[in-house]
Symmetry: C2
Subunit: 439 residues, 2 copies
C-alpha cells in the first residue's frame, strides 16, 4: 500500500492531549464571555463569494474560493467579522440590540504557512453591535482581561489608544495631514527602536525635527490615567479630533475603574497605531510584557462595518483573541494544569471468570460520575493493561482478582509510583471522589 495521505501544509490534526488543552481554554473563554452576557452564534463555513469579496483589500487573494456543483461562486469563511455583518443583516428582527455575541470557529486563509501561521486556524471574537456607548468598549476590554486571566496568561496588558487621537497627530506636529501615516509607522516602533530611532525615522521622512519631538513628547506621556488625561487635555486644546477622542477615552477609563478592572492589566498607550482604516474609535491590543509572547489579539471600535450589508448605522466594538498564539503559549509554558487524559482510573480484568465483576464495578463508578476505563484489548495479561494505563497517563488502576472479589476488596494502584493499597470495594468510590475533588 502506498504511503498514507498527509494533511495539507498549514493545516493540522490535533491529538487528544492537545485537544484537551484547547477545550479547556475554549471552555474558560465561553464561561467568561457568558458571565458578561455575550451569547454564542454560529455561521456556515461556506459563504457566497460575494459576501466575502471587497472586504479584505489586498488580502482578498487569500480567500479559499471555488464554484460549487450548482456553479455558484463560494468561499470559505476568512474571518468572523464579515459573517457577523451578514448575520446581523439577515436576522435583524430576531436579535436584541445592543447585540452581544461571541463566536469561536475555524477560519481559512490560503496564506503561506510558517511558524505560528496556519491555513486553518481558530478565531474567538466577542463583539457588541448597536451602541456607540463607551460602556460597550469598557465591556470588551474587561471581558478580555477576565478571559486572559482565566487561563493564567502571564503579564498581559491591554494597550488602549483612540483613532481620533492618532489622526490628530499631524496637526499636533504642525505638518500636513498626508504625513499622518508616516508618524504612525514611526511611533508604533517606539518599544523596538527607542526615542532616537523614532525621531530619526520621522526626520528621514521629511518631518522637521522639532515637529517630530513634539509628537514623541506627546505620545510618550506616561503616568496614572487621570493625570495623563489632564495633561493631554491641556496640550490638545483646540484640536477637535483629539478632544473627541480624549472625551471618549476618559469615559472608557472611568467605566473600567468603576467595574473594578485590574489597572495592572490595561494602560493608555498613545503609541499604539494599529488597523487604522478599519477602526473608528478606541483601539486595543493585548500584549504580554514577555517579549517572546507578543500580541494576544486586537480589538477596537469599528462603526462603519457591521451595517455594510443592511445599509444601516450599526456601530460596533469588539475584540478578537489570537487563539492559536494563546494555545501555543499555554502549551509551551504549561500554564494550565490539564491532565494528559480524561480518565481518572481504569479497572483491570483478571480472566474470563472475573470479567463480569470488573465490568459491573466500571458501570457503578461511571454512574457515580467517575471517568473510568476498562481495558478493551483482546488479551488480558496485567502487564499489558498497566502499560496501556501508563502510556495514556491514567493516574490510578483498580486491580480486581479472584481473591479480592472473594474478600470484597480491590487493590488501588498509583500508576506513577507503583504503590498499591488494598481497600474495601465499598470504599473505592469515596476514595476516587475525594481524589478528583482535590485535583
Amino acid at each position: 500500500m502506498a504511503r498514507a495521505p498527509q494533511v495539507l501544509r498549514g493545516m493540522r490534526d490535533f491529538l487528544p492531549e492537545q485537544m484537551l488543552l484547547r477545550q479547556h481554554v475554549l471552555n474558560s473563554f465561553r464561561e467568561v464571555f457568558e458571565r458578561y452576557g455575550f451569547e454564542p452564534i454560529e455561521t456556515p463555513v461556506i459563504e457566497y463569494l460575494e459576501t466575502l469579496t471587497g472586504k479584505y483589500g489586498e488580502d482578498e487573494k487569500l480567500i479559499y474560493s471555488f464554484q460549487d456543483r450548482g456553479e455558484r461562486d463560494v468561499g470559505l469563511r476568512y474571518d468572523l467579522t464579515v459573517p457577523l455583518a451578514r448575520f446581523v443583516a439577515n436576522h435583524r428582527n430576531e436579535l436584541n440590540f445592543p447585540f452581544k455575541r461571541y463566536h469561536i470557529a475555524p477560519v481559512f486563509r490560503a496564506d503561506r504557512p510558517q511558524r505560528g501561521r496556519y491555513r486553518e486556524f481558530w478565531q474567538c471574537d466577542a463583539d457588541i453591535v448597536g451602541t456607540k456607548s463607551m460602556m460597550a468598549d469598557a465591556e470588551v476590554v474587561s471581558v478580555w482581561i477576565d478571559a486572559l486571566s482565566a487561563i493564567n496568561m502571564p503579564g498581559f496588558v491591554v494597550h488602549i489608544n483612540h483613532r481620533k487621537l492618532l489622526m490628530s497627530l499631524a496637526e499636533v506636529a504642525g505638518v500636513p495631514n498626508e504625513q499622518t501615516s508616516t508618524i504612525h509607522r514611526a511611533i508604533d516602533k517606539l518599544a523596538k527602536i527607542g526615542e532616537d530611532g523614532v525621531i530619526s525615522e520621522m526626520v528621514s521622512n521629511d518631518i522637521p525635527e522639532d515637529a517630530a519631538r513634539r509628537v514623541l513628547d506627546l505620545v510618550s506621556t506616561r503616568g496614572e490615567p487621570g493625570h495623563v488625561f489632564e495633561q493631554l487635555v491641556d496640550r490638545l486644546q483646540g484640536n477637535t479630533l483629539a478632544e473627541e477622542g480624549l472625551t471618549e477615552l476618559r469615559s472608557l477609563f472611568g467605566y473600567l475603574e468603576s467595574m473594578g478592572a485590574d489597572p495592572a492589566h490595561y494602560t493608555l498607550d498613545l503609541t499604539l497605531a494599529r488597523g487604522l482604516d478599519y477602526y473608528t474609535g478606541p483601539v486595543f491590543e493585548a500584549l504580554s510584557v514577555d517579549a517572546n509572547i507578543g500580541s494576544l489579539g486586537g480589538a477596537g471600535r469599528y462603526d462603519g462595518l457591521v451595517g455594510m450589508f443592511s445599509g444601516e448605522d450599526l456601530p460596533a466594538t469588539g475584540c478578537s483573541l489570537g487563539l492559536e498564539r494563546i494555545f501555543d503559549v499555554i502549551q509551551e509554558r504549561n500554564l494550565v494544569g490539564v491532565p494528559p487524559t480524561v480518565s481518572q482510573t481504569m479497572v483491570t480484568i483478571f480472566n474470563e471468570e472475573t470479567v463480569g465483576d470488573s465490568l459491573s464495578l466500571v458501570g457503578e463508578l461511571r454512574r457515580a460520575g467517575i471517568s473510568c476505563e476498562i481495558y478493551v484489548g483482546e488479551r488480558w495479561d496485567l502487564r499489558r493493561q498497566l502499560q496501556y494505563a501508563n502510556r495514556k497517563g491514567i493516574p490510578t488502576t483498580v486491580i480486581l482478582g479472584p481473591d479480592e472479589i472473594k474478600r470484597g476488596e480491590v487493590i488501588l494502584r498509583e500508576m506513577e509510583t507503583g504503590e498499591q493499597s488494598t481497600l474495601a470495594r465499598s470504599d473505592l468510590l469515596g476514595v476516587l471522589q475525594a481524589r478528583s475533588a482535590h485535583a
Copy 2:
C-alpha cells in the same frame, strides 16, 4: 444598498438560543464520552482530495472539491470516519491502542437540501480502534445509551444485529447467496409493511414462500436475550457464519448486562439490516419508539476500514450520532431546560451620577461567578433597559437608583411577574447564588 447576501441553501446560521441548546447537548455528550475514556481529536476541514475519493461509492459526487491556489486537488471533510483512518495512519506511533476517540465537527455534502438534510451538518462519532474484542462493541453501545439518556431522549432503543447473521439468511432459507440482499431489503421493512408484506416482497422476488416463511420466522424470534440466543443456537446449528455471529453477540450482550446497561435501551433485532458493505461484525441502530423521531444514529464494527491507509489490520467499532436530528427533536419537544439566555440578571443604570455604582455592583457579581449584564445602550431610561432584559429573557433585573444607593439597598425585579422586592445590597449576591443553585 442592495439586498444583503444570504446563506447558501442547505447551510444555516444559528441564533444564540439555538446555539445554547446545541452547546448543552454537545457538552452532555462530551462528558459522557469522557466518562468512558474516549478522548477528543480534531482534523482539518480541508483534506487532499485523494484522501476522500474512492471511499464513498456513488455518493462521492457529493464531496465539495476544488483546486487550491497551489493547484492541489482538495475536498471538504465528508464524514469523520475517513479522516479517522488517515489520522490513525499518520499518528500511529503517538497513539495508545486500543485507541478510543470521539470527534464532534461539521461535515460537508453537496447534497440536495431538504427538511432535516443539510449541506453542512455536525457529526458526533465515538470509535475504538485496534481491538476485535466484543467488549469494545459493548462500550460503544453503552456510551450511546448513556449519551442519549443524558439529554432525556424519550423511548430510544439501540437495536443490535450482526452482519454474519444477516449473511447467513440465504442459507437459512435455502436459496442462493445472490438472494441475500433481497432478503435484507424485505426484512428491513418488517416494522413498516408487516409480516405479510415481508413475505409477499420476498415471494415477488423469486424466493419460494416456504423459504420466505423460514427467514421471517427466524428473524421474528423475540424475548429475553438469553432465551432467544438458546433458540437461535438450536436453529442455526451447522451454519458456520451464523454461529460466529451468535457467539460474538452473546459476548456482547453478556458484557452489556455486566456493565449494568439498562435493558430497556437495547435489544436484539434480527431484522436490522443496515450498511452491509461497510460493517463486518455487530451492527447497531438507535431508534425511538416514537415513529416521528426515527433513527438517531447508526453504528457497528468495521474491521476493514481504518487500516486502509496504513495497510495494517486495524479492527474498529464505533457509533455515529445523528446530531442535527437530535437537535431538532430536542428543540421541537423542549426536552432539555436550557434557559433562553446566559445572563442571570442585569443591573440597570439610573443616570450619569449613579452609573459608577451600577458598574461596581456588576463587577462584584461577575467576580463572584454570577452571569450579569449592564445595559450598554446609549440611553438609560428604565423602560428601555427593562425591555432589553425582557426580550433577551433575563430572569431578573437589579434596579439601583439614588435612593437605594443612599440606603445601601437594591430592588430585585422578577421580569416575568414584574414583582419587585427591596433588599440590602449586601444580601443580593446570596439571593442570586441561591436562585442559580435551584435552577
